[in-house]
Amino acid sequence: MQMFFLQLLNGLQLSMLIFLLAAGLTLIFGLMDILNLAHGAFFTMGAYAGWFVSKSTGSFWAALLIGPLVPFLIGALLQAAVLQPLVRRGRSTHLDLALLTFGLLFATAGTVEYFFGSSFYSIPVPAILSGHVAVLGVDYPLYRLFVIGAGLAVALVLSLVIDRTPIGAILRAGVDNREMVTALGININLVFAVVFGVGAALAGFAGVIAAPIMSVYSQMGIAIVVTTFVVVVVGGLGNLKGSFYGALFVGMTDTMAQAYLPDAELFAIYVLLVAMMIFRPQGLFGSTGRTA
Amino acid sequence: MSALEIRKLTKAYGGLEVIAGLDLTVPEGQRRAVIGPNGAGKTTLFNLITGWLPPTSGQILLHGVPVRKGRPDLVTRSGLSRSFQKNMLLENVTVLENLRIACQAFHPSRHSILRPAASFPEVVGKARRVSEQMHLDKCLHREVKELSYGQKRQLEVAIALCAEPKILLMDEPAAGTSPGERVNLIRLINELPANLTIVLVEHDMDVVFAICDVITVLSYGKVLATGPKEAIQADAEVIEAYLGRQHA
């Protein structure tokens, strides 16, 4: 039973990490119809940036604050300088852009390898968050609880911003009807760039908080991003709520499978994906009739 | 037996009833127009009849046989064909090829995977005949994207005809066409075989009066009135809801 609660918490922690990635991806897709296949690169970027800050300042919190800024800036720049001009030039089908980011995936994988090689780095857990806490009868690392808390906090903030603030209203309007929002005098390009940046920053934030748990290495984005893709498809592309529940679903499945059925671990999330595709291809919260 | 019979059809999106208990019967060979203000549910009705949308409740019968939900291809195979409001053509392919593929759908050769498509002259021949019927035979070898809008609308109807339907649904065939193209279209539609049942959604009342005998008026997802054109033109309710003073 203790084992079960341990796995439950681990699953929750993994889910939150994946949620941060999925949220960024789905936010970008929902608003701009861009599926950034290279999203994992922002995760990696955030982790490396955080490591660098942590190494220079010795502060985890500085890393947490500053680390995500790097993917934010790069993401916003990418959107404003590369993707938006292409959209304006008519290369705007989702497929075009998704394939473009596929190329970006190659390029970023290459860049990261070039600059950082294949060494493993780590960010140490800050003193405040080290140690264990008794939760559900389990001695659980405090830091992992922090990760869970951070994920839930972000989920809350995001849903509040999107549902309750004027910015959120602009976002939701923009998802529905881009031209109309522009016609209302809102600088939609700025909004897009910022949202892209925020999506990237979320991934970067995930990278920083993941760093003390998993190492920082050049391939770290790749593995987790495929799981993220499974989550966004399961949750319904473009749907933030779907990403949250999808992340929970997938994260739990993966962790439980890893614990109780280690041989099937690999297949667990794909079985989930397949089942979803058979019974509900639009995902948990997706809408039918989406065109390519 | 009527060609098309709809009983108490409802389509609801959450609380919004786009189609609210609609009854409609079209006898064989009739030319029926379905008119109504925007949002009355005309295209939704077509989507329901052709199997693109599942109804919330109610029945749709084609020659007495219920429509298979979610399988527009089977609906076409059972004798009901449709042309769309927004052109849905194979743009990068020639006119002849568009028609040939449409005709091929009912030919056993459609399962053939190694023999060239061109080696089935019956299919090509049928495509040519339809093109002549719709006066498209002069532009058979041009790619669809090079056609004028009026020609594309003609092709849109022609493709629907390739299915040799017993019932033809046309969704605003004259939409966006020039007056000359419209006259042409009217003539072509009136030249179609008399035993073909036609249901036409149109906003252009000239087209409606030139083609149709009976008019059904929809409003808010329900039938407001059905009757011969003279009666509809004179119906006070209809005039109030839709037609406007010029046709009164």
Binding site: L37 | S109, I113, E143
Partner: protein
């Protein structure tokens, strides 16, 4: 004269008289290419031969992928899974079951046909971007299985993949020239079969699906079945390329089914797109040459390949979708 051309045109549905001339010109080109292919070993050295072999194998892979991407309009980001499975099929069949090649190859292709049909049946329930993602996810699943499976030595891969035993013909497939002709024969066969398929009624329905799936369905076609068929066919052809590749380097490992491998296939299809059947081979040729060139110049393959990929997608005629759509009736 015009009359005769027009009458010829009536026998070839959808072809303009102008395109008949184009077709004739292309037949001459094809014949010249065939002759060049035949004579290549006598005209050049081993290095060119190895390049030619790589181009042909890549061409088969790209051709298989093109059936799905170019003709049906379904962009799969995971088709390298079939490429890799083909190679692994041979490896498992010969090394683990001990079957001779003439049993293993058909068995592999049959298995792949089944797998790709099942995977296709699941994936084709989605479109566009979701389709891209789900195919990617499937390929990652197979990739992961290949990495973890101790049976196939995980990341170390399987060595000793055998080439066909041609001793009855008095030659050895280990000889580069002999292997070259073997690959050329297989590639030509694949080419011919694919050419027949895309010109067939089945192929025309795939094109209709690409242009407007809803319209194809409204015409009365059970489009789901056609999409699965296209997926299955492309899977088998891609696996054939994988078989050839494994035999070429006597080796197979999980990298052959990586997302990078899938990406390379997509790029080849995009580059070569406008040429229809020959297009993928053209794309393969460009790709192989660029890759060779890149590897001579820099060690940073991924980075430059990625930039190249993005440039092609961004600037290639009409964008990616436009490139796919230039596979018009004229060029069939």
């Amino acid at each position: 004269m015009t009359e005769r051309l027009t009458m010829d045109a009536t026998n070839l549905a959808g072809r303009t008289p102008r395109s008949i001339t184009v077709l004739r010109r292309r037949s001459y080109v094809a014949v010249i290419c065939a002759i060049a292919l035949l004579l290549l070993p006598f005209l050049s050295g081993d290095y060119v031969l190895t390049l030619a072999i790589e181009v042909m194998i890549a061409g088969v892979f790209a051709s298989g992928l093109n059936v799905l991407i170019g003709y049906t309009g379904l962009a799969s980001a995971g088709h390298a899974m079939f490429y890799g499975l083909g190679g692994y099929g041979i490896g498992i069949g010969t090394a683990i079951f001990g079957w001779p090649l003439w049993v293993t190859v058909p068995a592999t292709l049959a298995c792949i046909a089944l797998i790709s049909t099942v995977v296709g049946a699941i994936c084709t329930r989605t479109r566009g971007v979701e389709f891209l993602l789900i195919t990617l996810a499937f390929s990652q699943m197979f990739f992961g299985a290949a990495v973890k499976l101790r049976l196939t030595n995980g990341t170390d891969g399987m060595a000793g993949i055998p080439r066909p035993d041609l001793s009855s013909l008095g030659v050895s497939a280990d000889d580069p020239v002999v292997f070259y002709y073997y690959v050329a024969c297989v590639a030509a066969l694949a080419f011919v079969v694919l050419a027949l398929i895309v010109r067939s009624p089945f192929g025309s329905v795939l094109i209709a699906i690409r242009e407007s799936e809803r319209r194809a369905q409204a015409m009365g076609y059970a489009v789901g079945a056609y999409k699965i068929g296209a997926f299955g066919i492309s899977g088998v052809v891609c696996s054939l390329a994988g078989v050839l590749q494994a035999q070429y380097i006597y080796f197979i490992n999980p990298d052959s089914m990586s997302w990078q491998s899938s990406g390379e296939g997509i790029l080849m299809v995009i580059i070569g797109g406008t040429g229809a059947i020959l297009g993928p081979f053209v794309g393969a040729a460009v790709f192989v040459l660029v890759k060779q060139g890149l590897s001579l110049v820099t060690g940073e393959y991924n980075l430059f390949f990625g930039i190249f990929f993005m440039l092609v997608v961004a600037f290639f005629r009409g964008g990616v979708a436009g490139t796919f759509r230039t596979l018009t009736g004229r060029w069939r």
